[in-house]
């Protein structure tokens, strides 16, 4: 089922040093990693970043194919980036040219670089969601986004909404699949036809889906109320956020990594 292939937001349960880090450490680490990818100016930097990421993946005990599965939905974007950069950007050492389509050593280098950066970007962020329970992730974000209170936005509510969205992604995907099948059985056609017809053919899918989503929302709100939910005030947590020695170690290692990335920006080897 294509609809359930999406890894984003799918937690991979395991006991590993990465899993046991505080979620805030992981969020900040991921954020830092993404920035470091933009610090890198050469393949040396990306290669080093990739190797470090591979070590972290190994450490996290998440099978590599779960991480690579995150690529599937954005494959198109990566290929698009590759093509645009390789065939449509300028360069000195021309290899081949046909009208506006041209290819040069520089453009190949640039295209490969951009694509590699995108891939690492996806791997890095997938690893965050694979090793962090959604609820911890939202707790961490809630804590990190605490400054939003200054702008009259409740970080708790934001985090709660995100947590619930993550929880119901599989449910809604299943629901979509079911409704699509049911309407197909009634002769509906979602795959072929002109653009207008295809847009129209979505009505029998979207209306029931919205009705379902509203029903789920109403049920859930009732269930949450019955379990004494009344917003963030006075709530405690099963997994109270606490920085530990592990987080300190991780922070130091990350600082070393970042320093190495900056050095490599100055002295590219490849």
């Amino acid at each position: 089922m294509a609809l359930t292939d999406i890894t984003l937001g799918q937690y991979y349960p395991a006991e590993s040093p990465i899993h046991s880090l505080d979620s805030r450490t992981k969020v900040l680490g991921t954020f830092g990693f993404l920035i470091s990818l933009f610090i890198a100016k050469s393949f040396t930097g990306l290669l080093f970043a990739g190797l470090c990421l591979l070590c972290v993946i190994k450490l996290s005990k998440v099978p590599l194919r779960f991480v690579t599965r995150g690529l599937k939905p954005v494959m198109f974007l990566i290929i698009f980036t590759l093509i645009i950069n390789v065939f449509f950007s300028a360069g000195e050492h021309m290899i081949w040219q046909w009208g506006i389509i041209k290819m040069s050593r520089e453009s190949i280098h640039r295209g490969g670089f951009m694509a590699a950066r995108l891939v690492l970007l996806i791997f890095g962020s997938s690893l965050l969601t694979l090793t962090t329970k959604p609820i911890e992730l939202t707790d961490g974000l809630e804590n990190l986004l605490g400054f939003l209170k200054l702008f009259k936005v409740s970080p708790h509510e934001l985090a709660m909404m995100m947590g619930i969205a993550l929880r119901f992604i599989p449910t809604l995907l299943e629901e979509t699949d079911k409704i699509m099948k049911a309407q197909t059985a009634r002769g509906a056609n979602f795959e072929t036809g002109k653009l207008m017809d295809r847009a129209k053919s979505l009505v029998p899918l979207l209306v029931p889906l919205f009705v379902s989503a509203f029903r789920i929302a109403a049920d859930l709100a009732m269930a949450m109320e019955a379990r004494c939910y009344r917003g963030g005030e006075g709530r405690t947590r099963l997994h109270a956020l606490k920085y530990g020695r592990k987080d300190l170690t991780a922070g130091l290692l990350f600082a070393l990594y970042l320093a190495a990335m900056i050095v490599m920006r100055r002295f590219p080897l490849i």
Partner: protein
């Protein structure tokens, strides 16, 4: 025994949304007491007000007239609402739409977290609750990896972790297959044995037969009330309301119609089995009977 829940002359109607909606109230001048540690089954046709009544018992809905008291607390008192809801937990019909978290143990923790319980204590309660419903080994799984019966058990654990003394089940088995249904009924009976007060709303008379007392609702009013034996004895009324009798009672009736004399107190299959045993005590196998002259 003390009453944990007292319902006094309540009336409730939903706000009219459509012009042809029934103007009649959903609950009409209804009174009901539930004793501490009792197992009460509430049955009745669709639209008889069962679910509405259940939601009035823990202040999810407030009656227009009359009042509901939980352990002496009036549900209309806003300051007591959270105390009442932690006392009277609720498990709903749809197993999917009542789990909040993507991880089983975090979901069970949701109630105590809302009550501001200390993290170490939450951990203890969550583990205990999950063990009580036999879901401890699945504590790290996501709801989408569980069967319907397992999801309902997680929902039950979520209420247990709030340490509610009374649990309301609103058609908890309606969407389950036979094995899931049996799982949940076993858990409910277990909880009752451990001293919890149980209110079970159901369409299945086999399930209601396990209760201490059955309450039959019709058009928002109390139509009948009594032990399973007393209620099932008034078959005509039940059939009128389109309620299906338990299998053992149906079979006993059909046997009586064929001239077999059976005692009146048959509710379960075991009762019927015992009655047939006493009828045939000391006799040989039916097939080998001596043909009568």
């Amino acid at each position: 025994m003390e009453n944990i829940i007292e319902v006094k002359n309540i009336t409730f109607s939903y706000p009219e949304s459509e012009e042809d909606a029934p103007a009649e109230p959903t609950l009409k001048d209804l009174s009901l007491d539930i004793r501490n540690g009792e197992f009460v089954a509430i049955v009745g046709p669709n639209g008889s007000g069962k679910s509405t009544l259940a939601k009035c018992l823990n202040a999810l809905l407030l009656p227009e007239e009359g009042k509901v008291c939980v352990a002496g607390m009036d549900t209309s008192d806003e300051d007591l609402i959270w105390k009442i809801r932690s006392q009277v937990g609720m498990v709903f019909q749809n197993p999917d739409n009542q789990l909040v978290s993507s991880v089983v143990e975090d979901d069970v923790a949701f109630g105590p977290e809302n009550l501001g319980v200390d993290p170490a204590e939450i951990r203890r309660r969550v583990d205990e609750a999950l063990k009580a419903v036999n879901m401890y080994d699945n504590r790290r799984k996501g709801p989408h990896q569980l069967s319907g019966g397992q999801k309902q058990r997680v929902a039950i654990a979520g209420v247990l972790a709030m340490q509610s003394s009374c649990m309301i089940f609103d058609e908890p088995t309606a969407m389950l297959d036979p094995s899931g249904r049996a799982e949940i009924i076993d858990v409910i009976c277990d909880l009752h044995r451990q001293g919890k007060t149980i209110v079970l709303i159901t369409h299945f008379m086999e399930e209601a037969a396990k209760a201490d007392r059955i309450v039959v609702l019709k058009d928002g009013q109390l139509a009948m009330e009594g032990t399973p034996l007393e209620v099932f004895a008034r078959e005509d009324r039940l059939r009128e309301m389109k309620l299906v009798l338990p299998f053992a009672i149906e079979l006993a009736d059909q046997l009586k119609a064929r001239g077999i004399e059976l005692p009146k107190d048959i509710v379960t299959e075991e009762d019927l089995m015992a009655a047939l045993e006493s009828l045939t005590a000391g006799r040989k196998t039916a097939g080998e009977a001596v043909p009568c002259a």
